[in-house]
């Protein structure tokens, strides 16, 4: 689980670990089934050590992890903003990008449609670069075949971004 995903989920409001887990499970559905239940606490502990979140204990309930409420520090907020603006690809896997849109909408910190547009612009530029490189290759070169793979994958990614665009346009219209 990416640290940034957990941070961004916390950007909506200070939360208990189990609340974060429930939100992740809701957003991921069957894709998130393999996620270890304890994983979120491992990530939260790391984030706390890194100074990106702080943890507040309620007085009742002893040592149970469910008594802890986590909230972002200003360093954590900065990291979330950077993550929303990052257009790296394909390093954020599909789930990570999906959760970025979900978390951005929930926290009201960034417009999912703006994130989609920015990412699409970036991928179109990469598609252009890959196509130009492919055109400059001699026909049937080994490298041309690899470039074809990059082009096809970018096309698939761009179609998914189109689907994200349509879905979040509808969501915005109904909210």
């Amino acid at each position: 689980m990416q640290q940034e995903v957990v941070l961004a989920m916390l950007a909506k409001e200070p939360s208990h670990g189990y609340e974060l887990r429930a939100r992740l499970r809701h957003a991921l559905g069957p894709v998130g089934e393999a996620m270890n239940a304890g994983q979120i606490y491992v990530v939260l502990t790391r984030l706390e050590k890194a100074g990106l979140v702080v943890c507040e204990r309620s007085t009742a309930g002893g040592d149970s992890p469910d008594r802890k409420t986590y909230l972002l520090t200003s360093a954590g907020q900065e990291r979330v903003a950077e993550w929303f603006a990052d257009v790296g690809w394909p390093k954020p896997g599909l789930a990570e990008f999906h959760l970025k849109l979900v978390a951005a909408a929930a926290a009201g910190l960034a417009d999912p449609l703006t994130i989609v547009d920015t990412q699409r612009r970036e991928l179109l530029r990469r598609l252009r670069d890959a196509q130009r490189a492919a055109m400059n290759e001699p026909d049937h070169s080994d490298a041309a075949l690899l470039l074809e793979g990059i082009v096809l994958r970018l096309q698939a990614d761009l179609r998914w971004l189109e689907a994200c665009d349509q879905r979040w346009t509808i969501r915005r219209g109904t909210s």
Binding site: L127, Q131, A133, M135
Partner: protein, 248 residues
């Protein structure tokens, strides 16, 4: 006096096209403003039925708007009479369609020279020009073939040569790769990149990401209106290796 070099070659102002009335009213194009500079390639993307083909027809004088204005090289075209409009279509714009629209009874070179002949050029001039264009699109050796003897990608390249016959101010292309497989698409992409580099103004409506990626500017269209505009020129933050899974 405005400077002609900065004046858009193609301009739309509040362009609208409506069909039907009452509950059946469809706003195919709903208030589009567009300026296209000389030498620019603009791609318009959007789902089927978003109005992008209708928009292209309005820009090229194939159809008349319900409201708004269409301008080509400083001349308003939406109010031209039929004869003036037909002449503008022959000389000012070149069309490329998804289904090629070649005349199947005519040879390749006859298809390409047809617009020049219709515009009153001498047969010799028209033929010379057609031969040059076929050479440019890499099909000089297919000049005497009928379109039916050509692959889809070759037919589309013939259609592009035909569109260039009268040295149009702007080439308007409607899903030019829509009927083509991956290899033929690559040939047409290469041709459009070549046109772009030679300074030809191009407006392409498409839902093919590959051809959209060749544009200077990409416009997203929904329900007859422009919803987003992106400049694609400039660099990326990544490299090809990262896209292929190579680290570092």
């Amino acid at each position: 006096m405005s400077d002609p070099s900065t004046e858009p070659v193609l301009r739309a102002v509040g362009l609208c096209k409506k069909y039907g009335t009452g509950d059946g009213l469809v706003r195919a194009v709903d208030g589009v403003d567009l300026d296209v500079a000389t030498g620019e390639t603009v791609a318009v993307m959007g789902p089927s039925g978003c109005g992008k083909s209708t928009l292209l027809h309005l820009l090229g004088g194939l159809d008349r708007p319900s409201a708004g204005e269409a301008w080509l090289a400083g001349r308003r075209i939406d109010r031209l009479g039929e004869r003036a409009l037909a002449r503008m279509r022959r000389t000012g714009v070149g069309f490329v369609f998804q289904a090629f629209h070649l005349m199947k009874e005519l040879t390749v070179v006859e298809n390409v020279e047809l617009p020049a002949l219709l515009d009153g050029r001498s047969p010799r001039t028209a033929r010379t020009r057609a031969a040059e264009l076929l050479d440019r699109v890499g099909l000089a050796d297919r000049a005497r073939f009928l379109p039916s003897a050509l692959s889809g990608g070759q037919r589309q390249r013939v259609a592009v040569a035909r569109a260039l016959s009268n040295e149009p101010l702007v080439v308007l292309a409607d899903e030019p790769t829509g009927n083509l497989d991956s290899a033929a698409t690559a040939d047409v992409l290469r041709l459009f990149e070549d046109l772009h580099e030679s300074g030809q103004t191009l407006v392409i409506v498409t839902h093919d990401e590959r051809i959209a990626a060749t544009a200077d500017r990409l416009i997203s269209m929904r329900d007859g209106a422009f919803v987003d505009e992106t400049r694609l020129t400039g660099g990326t933050t990544g490299n090809l290796g990262a896209l292929a899974g190579l680290d570092g």
